[in-house]
């Protein structure tokens, strides 16, 4: 199968979820996993890594280097090095969509806009400061108030016709705003359309600070929300790349960095073995593939 130490692994410890990805010597994903982070960060990182290995059907020894990323990156104690999620999301997005030059990453509490060079390197970046207004936290607030799950929000919002105007300066105050509209008899889809538009507007001003260069790729958990994708496309005035596994982009980028380091150390050319292919969202299949 894979030569010892020929794979790279990335573990992305986020505030709510921990993701792990293993890439093989052909620079393709061979396994991945997602676990809730919880309070035991080190354990979450270990579990995610083990599950990704299991999905890949690989022993630990197949992995040459492990890179930790995300806010909890220093808690990936079994890792060899860490890298910020800015760098990793850029690499991951660029790997999936090689023409990517701008990455928009929306997580649970922060939003980043990253300009990316031809090799997936970070050219410039900007993040929301101190305040989580206009980030994924807004969606959590909306879900709380409307009694929907995060996964239901997008499809329901897509059904909204007239988006209502909402505050976009406080993720806590937006809850009372939403409640007020519902009390007035506004339809939930319309209110949710307004929520998505408010987030998109705030995100767009962040992205414009770093400059929008085509192609734009959307990563992070919120990219799975179709209403968010649509709202962002409308506000930015450009189509946006989204992958089915957008929230794994950080871990993927970390895994690619880890693979590079493993290769550099060993100094051996990648071994040619059949490996699962994971490109624009098709699930990996085959002997060495696996999904979470």
């Amino acid at each position: 199968m894979f030569a010892r130490g020929s794979c790279g692994a990335g573990v992305d410890v986020g505030s709510t979820q921990t993701k792990a990805v293993v890439v093989g010597p052909g620079h393709t994903v061979v396994g991945r996993a997602l676990v809730p982070t919880g309070a035991q960060i080190v354990k979450a990182a270990e579990r995610a890594f083990e599950e990704a290995l299991r999905a890949a059907g690989l022993p630990r020894s197949a992995v040459g280097k492990v890179c930790g990323t995300g806010y909890g990156r220093f808690k990936v104690t079994f890792g060899d090095f860490q890298s910020t999620e800015i760098t990793c999301h850029a690499r991951g997005a660029h790997h999936v969509f090689p023409a990517t030059r701008t990455v928009v990453d929306m997580g649970g509490q922060d939003t980043k806009a990253v300009r990316v060079g031809p090799s997936g390197e970070v050219v410039d970046f900007v993040m929301n400061d101190k305040c989580a207004a206009g980030t994924g936290r807004f969606l959590s607030a909306a879900a709380d108030v409307t009694g929907l799950t995060l996964d239901q929000l997008g499809p329901v919002a897509l059904g909204g016709k007239e988006g209502v105007r909402l505050t976009s300066v406080c993720a806590v105050f937006v809850e009372s705003d939403i409640m007020s509209y519902l009390a007035q008899g506004k339809a939930v889809p319309d209110v949710l359309a307004g929520v998505h538009r408010a987030i998109a507007a705030r995100t767009a001003s962040l992205v414009r600070r770093v400059g929008i260069e085509s192609e734009v790729t959307f990563t992070g958990g919120v990219a799975r929300n179709p209403a968010m994708v649509r709202a962002l496309e409308q506000v930015l005035g450009t189509s946006i790349n989204v992958s089915e596994a957008s929230h794994f982009c950080g871990a993927l980028g970390a895994a690619l960095l880890a693979l590079e380091r493993a290769e550099a150390e060993v100094g051996v050319a990648p071994v040619e073995v059949p490996a699962a292919k994971w490109d624009d969202g098709t699930a990996p299949s085959g002997e060495n593939g696996g999904t979470a």
């Binding site: 806010y71 910020t84 760098t87 090799s119 390197e121 970070v122 410039d124 970046f125 900007v126 400061d129």
Partner: protein, 415 residues
Amino acid sequence: MSTAYASSATVNERARRAMDAWFSEIAEAKARGKKTVALMVSGAPLELLRAFDLVPIFSEVQALQLAIKKKSLPPILRAEQEGYASDSCAYVKADLGLLFSDAAPVPDAILCNYVGCNVYVKWFEHLAAYTGAPLFVLDVPFARTDVSSSEDIRYVVRQLEEMIVFLEKVSGKKYDPDRLREVLALSARAEEAWSRCKELCKRRPAPFDAYFDAINLMGPANCLRGTEVGAEVLELAAETYAALASERKGPLPEERFRIVVEGPPPYPAYRSFRDLFAKWGAVGVASTYSCVGGLWEFGWRHDPTKDPLVSIAEHVLRENLTNRSLLDRGDRSVRWLREWNADAFVIHSVKSCRLFSAGQGDERERVREAGFPVLMLESDLEDPRYYAEAPIKNRIDAFFESLEQARALSARRGS
């Protein structure tokens, strides 16, 4: 530890002792029959005060000392209780909070040298109202052109003449222009030495950090200027750093990135903030903040051979950061980046400090246009509540990661 490193610590120790002596002078002033005058750092006509043997109190320095010792929050909260807004300058709140708690020295007179920060004026008006001390406001216009007009100079000199009448009353002494010239000569020595230190940072590696280490010498440069000890400390620094530079020694084991820094440091988290940069081998080779007392690295000095009041007027009017246009600030930053061979520009933005922070977005664009990467961070210079280490660390790490990547790519491309 080599002799060179020991010497750097010696410089800081000497500076600290000189500053402690000055704080004692303030505390003992009344007992010794001396008068104290509160004034501001930027565009300070400090030399005139010294010529009258008046003891200066720098309220800003008082405030930053509190923050560095992690004691700034209680007075800030006290001031907020009295009604000061949460987003107003935390220096003001720390200083006035201290006064409300009877823990601040009460000045005999207050001199507000307004050189661009209009908060200064309100701060000192409040101080005057609370203490009953007489207040004099020196109005220094914004620099609209590169060279100040003769009208501008005359405007300031006329006010300095009025200030002399004020200071004669406060001190009970007569104005002595020869004494003032002596003081100007001592200032010029300090300025020459400080300027030499800054110049040395053009070398690789820079012998000291012109942002993080500079704060040790800003005390003598801004507060002890015009005294013998002030000149001596800075001359010792220049000698020491010259020796370090010739031995190719710097503040870090390896200088990997040379940065120009804009904005004051987050004093409440000073050490940990510095560590975030030290981890990447990033050294400040120039900074705007180290120039808040005056811009001496481009050649200007106080000149005792001139009309002393004209020399002082030139300093407060022209050799400052705080009364420049946004265009000028941007151009000056680019000049520092180029002449000091820097790799990147780091902005520490302080929301409650309008003077420094207004225009930093434009400055960021100007610097990027000039081809330098820019990192922008945000917290506060005095209030510990605004410093969030995780996001700040994330931005610093991501920024230097991208610089590392860029270097690695250039190396691979053979450029």
